[in-house]
Each structure stands twice: as structure tokens, then as C-alpha cells.
């Protein structure tokens, strides 16, 4: 099988901008401090309140998918009380995602500066980084950065890495809270859906790595006017490409003309299929997209090559997502398996298409908001948009036809990565 995927240590990314100032190697502490300066003082309440105001004014929001305002999250954590643990989530779950890896492998000190700043703001007792156990390049870069920080005695709070099993849902916030509090790394049901702190005596606050990098910029003494930018992982036939995109960039400017596409998967495997013409002139900017009912999710933009069939690709994604269930909640265990089978029927085409379509319309709404985490919700959302966007392809498949010219898989799944 020919693979179009680059291994994690070959992610390409733009250089010379605010988050990735260096080439294809890790910025060490000396280089980092020469570029970004030292951390701003976080000694007293006035220092802390000043930083929190900057985070608020810069409009920093969560970049893991929920896009919740970071200042609100930090303030609610302050109200919940001191003594917790702040975690940087470096465990992006999707095989197509690469921005956590790009950040940690090139500029780990920026993320760690943001982590330390949130620790100071929330009066935490410890800091942690949550990383997949088999993300070896990321872990190696992280270890180098930890050593440099320890030697320079930068961190006042204990800092440690937590190793997560390689499963999609192990990067989900409730799974991290569960594991850091001594449970297993599977999503946990929280009746009040508190966005910030977990329950119990050892509260845990989880932040996306890119979010912490933005907070790290604001906590740096050599800072410039905060650039409103987003890290986008662009998925192409030539591999993944992590780009830092300023908020006035349009999708037409983001994608190369050599990647013509009619359909784009926005936000990743739990995101939304959209028609290219509907977003071509939209800005790559969460708040603008929200006006169109769209979201960047965790920042993944995947233009489907016209040589590929959206139904076949959707079927492969749903099958992989079903395999990633933590097998805890009935609607996820049984519902996603059924969903995978009926989408497979649409992809295969022929006389089973009509029956599968009827069942999908009937059952998809039954799967929303039924799990402890939002894993099934994302799959349902992505499938719903596939049924709309690929309506004419479904008609073709009914007649045993397909518009695709390629049978090579486009979207990466875990098994293929390990097959390299």
C-alpha cells in the first residue's frame, strides 16, 4: 500500500513566524530566551492580574476544539481554589493531526512557559504534560526541554510527564482528569460538565498545547503585539503541513492551487464536511467561521482530492473512529459499530444504499449527547454533513457508480501509520 503520510518527525511547517521561529530542530533554552526573553514577573497579585487581563484582551481561547475563552476558564479555576494540577495536553488523538507534535518538537519552552504561567495564575501545586507513550519524537524533545528547565531552576512547581495509552479518546479532557486523579485514561462522566476543574480533592485543569503557547507569548518579556493566529494542520496528498495562519487569511489563500478540491473536511474526523465554494472566501478564523455554523475544531483542514470518493473516505474514518471507542458507553459501543456498517453500505453502493440511508436518518439523532465524552457526537456530526455534502455521490453509488479515480486511501488511520 502506498502511503501519503509523513511520519510524525517529518511534519513540515512554516518558519519565521511567532510560534515556529526556528528551523527543523528544537529551540533550546538559550535560543528560546534570546528570541522571547525571560518570563514576565509573576510575583504578586498585580503581576498575575495584569497577565490575566492580557489573556482576556488578546481573546485567547481553547485550541483543542471547544474554543472556550481561556481567561474565563482560568478565572473559574481560581474561584475553585488553589492546590490543583495544570496539564498541557500534548496527546492529539487523530492520525491526521500534527500541530501538538510540531509545537513540542520545535518550541517546547514556549508551551512550558504558558503552562507555568497558568500554574501561577491558578495557584496550582504541580504541572504536568500529557503525551502519548508512543510519540517518541515529541517525548524526546520534551525531555530535553525538561532537563534545561531543571538545570536553570526555572520551575517553582514540580513538573512531570504523564504517559497516555495511544487511543483517540485518551486525549479527551475527562480521560486526562480521570488518569491524573489516579483512575484509568478513559473518559469519565461528570454530572455537572464543569469545564474547568475535575471533582474531588485534587482538581485538574487541562489546556491544549497551542493555547498554552499563546499564553506563553503573552507571558514573555520580549513580546510583540499579540498576533491573532491559528495553527492549522493541512492534510494533502503530499502529507501533513502545519501552518501558523493569521486571522485575515482566507481558505483560498491557505490552500495551494495545486490542491483543487470540491469538498473539505474541516475540524478533523469529528468535524464537518463543507463545500469548497462555501468557505473559499471565508477567513481561517474561528469567530468568523462560527457565523457560518462552522468550526476549525482542533485546526485540521483536509481538502479531499477530486480523485477520491467522499463516501469511501467517510466510511474509513467512521470505521476507525468506531474502533477508537473506549467501550464504556452502550450508545458508543453499539451505535458507532452500526454506523460504520451502514456508511460502509453507502460506500459499497448498490441496492443496500436506500435501506442504509433510511436507518441513518432514523438513528443518527439517537446517538447525540449519549456518551460520557463527545466522541460519538463528533462522529455523528461528521456523518450528518457527509450525507448532505455527498448527496449526489450517494445517488451515483445507488446505481453502482462512483466518481473516484483513485482507490488509494486519503485519510490516515492509525494502523497505516504503524505500517510505515
Amino acid at each position: 500500500m502506498t502511503l501519503t503520510l509523513l511520519p510524525a518527525n517529518e511534519i513540515r511547517y512554516d518558519v519565521g513566524n511567532s510560534l515556529f521561529p526556528t528551523g527543523s530542530r528544537r529551540f533550546d533554552l538559550t535560543e528560546f530566551e534570546a528570541r522571547f526573553g525571560s518570563s514576565i514577573p509573576l510575583e504578586n497579585n498585580a503581576d498575575l492580574e495584569a497577565l490575566l487581563s492580557r489573556i482576556e484582551q488578546a481573546g485567547v481561547h481553547g485550541r483543542g476544539g471547544a474554543h472556550f475563552p481561556s481567561a474565563v476558564k482560568i478565572r473559574s479555576a481560581i474561584l475553585a481554589g488553589a492546590g490543583g494540577t495544570v496539564i498541557a495536553n500534548a496527546a492529539e488523538g487523530e492520525p491526521s493531526a500534527a500541530k501538538d507534535a510540531a509545537l513540542w518538537q520545535t518550541n517546547p519552552h514556549l508551551v512550558l512557559r504558558g503552562l507555568a504561567a497558568v500554574g501561577a495564575l491558578t495557584q496550582a501545586k504541580s504541572l504536568g504534560v500529557w503525551v502519548h507513550e508512543d510519540s517518541y519524537s515529541t517525548r524526546s524533545s520534551m525531555a530535553g526541554a525538561f532537563k534545561e528547565r531543571a538545570a536553570a531552576e526555572i520551575d517553582r512547581l514540580p513538573l512531570r510527564a504523564y504517559l497516555a495509552p495511544h487511543r483517540y479518546v485518551s486525549g479527551e479532557a475527562s480521560a486526562i482528569i480521570n488518569a491524573v486523579q489516579g483512575g484509568s485514561a478513559v473518559p469519565k462522566f461528570f454530572p455537572t460538565k464543569s469545564r474547568a476543574w475535575g471533582e474531588g480533592n485534587a482538581p485538574v485543569l487541562v489546556f491544549n498545547s497551542e493555547t498554552l503557547a499563546h499564553i506563553g507569548l503573552l507571558a514573555s518579556s520580549l513580546n510583540w503585539a499579540p498576533l491573532e493566529s491559528t495553527l492549522v494542520t493541512l492534510l494533502t496528498l503530499n502529507g501533513r503541513y502545519v501552518r501558523e495562519v493569521s486571522s485575515d487569511t482566507t481558505f483560498a489563500e491557505l490552500l495551494e492551487p495545486s490542491d483543487p478540491a470540491e469538498h473539505v473536511l474541516l475540524g478533523g474526523y469529528g468535524g464537518q464536511w463543507v463545500n469548497w465554494q462555501d468557505i473559499a472566501h471565508s477567513r481561517v478564523h474561528e469567530a468568523s467561521l462560527a457565523g457560518q455554523g462552522l468550526s476549525l475544531g482542533a485546526g485540521i483542514v483536509a481538502p479531499l482530492p477530486n480523485s477520491h470518493c467522499g463516501l469511501i473516505e467517510t466510511s474509513r474514518i467512521v470505521e476507525w473512529m468506531a474502533s477508537q471507542s473506549a467501550q464504556q458507553c452502550g450508545p458508543c459501543i453499539f451505535g458507532l459499530q452500526w454506523l460504520a456498517e451502514d456508511i460502509q453500505a453507502l460506500a459499497a453502493g448498490g441496492r443496500k444504499v436506500i435501506g442504509a440511508l433510511d436507518r441513518l436518518n432514523d438513528r443518527l439523532p439517537q446517538l447525540m449527547k449519549r456518551g460520557a465524552c463527545s466522541h460519538p457526537d463528533g462522529v455523528v456530526r461528521m456523518t450528518n454533513t457527509a450525507l448532505e455534502v455527498f448527496a449526489s455521490e450517494i445517488s451515483l453509488h445507488r446505481k453502482n457508480k462512483c466518481s473516484a479515480s483513485s482507490t488509494q486511501p486519503f485519510f490516515p488511520t492509525e494502523s497505516e501509520i504503524h505500517a510505515v
Binding site: 455537572t192 458507553c329 452502550g330 450508545p331 451505535g335 452500526w338 449519549r370
Partner: protein
């Protein structure tokens, strides 16, 4: 503040007795797992909710007070 019936889906094994005890609050999906009404409990449904909560062998149901259903 309103009272709501909630389920911890990680505890539920789809036994199904809750839907018998609380027919106005709980419907079974095609896989045999309960779909719970998200609206606040009323005086009538509160009784059903308590019966379902007591009957569940997995102790998967709970009643909580909160502002909104979301």
C-alpha cells in the same frame, strides 16, 4: 434551580428496568439503552425518576439540581 434525571452512561449496561419505572422520562434506543428526557423534572415525573433510580441495579441514574439542562 431545577431537578434533572441524569445517567452515567459508563455505568449503564442497558438492563432496561428504568424505562418501565419511568415511562414518561425514559425511552429505549434501538440498542436497548435509555434516552433520558432532558427537561426539568415535574412533580409527576419526579416520582417516576426516583422509582427508576432505586430500581437500577447498576446505580447508573442520578438526580441533580442545576440551572439549565445543558
Amino acid at each position: 434551580m431545577n431537578k434533572h434525571l441524569l445517567i452515567d452512561p459508563t455505568k449503564c449496561d442497558g438492563v432496561g428496568i428504568c424505562a418501565i419505572k419511568a415511562p414518561d422520562l425514559i425511552q429505549m434506543d434501538v440498542w436497548g439503552f435509555p434516552i433520558i428526557e432532558s427537561a426539568p423534572l415535574t412533580d409527576n415525573t419526579k416520582k417516576q425518576a426516583k422509582k427508576a433510580l432505586r430500581a437500577c441495579p447498576k446505580k447508573a441514574l442520578l438526580i441533580i439540581e442545576r440551572e439549565s439542562p445543558a
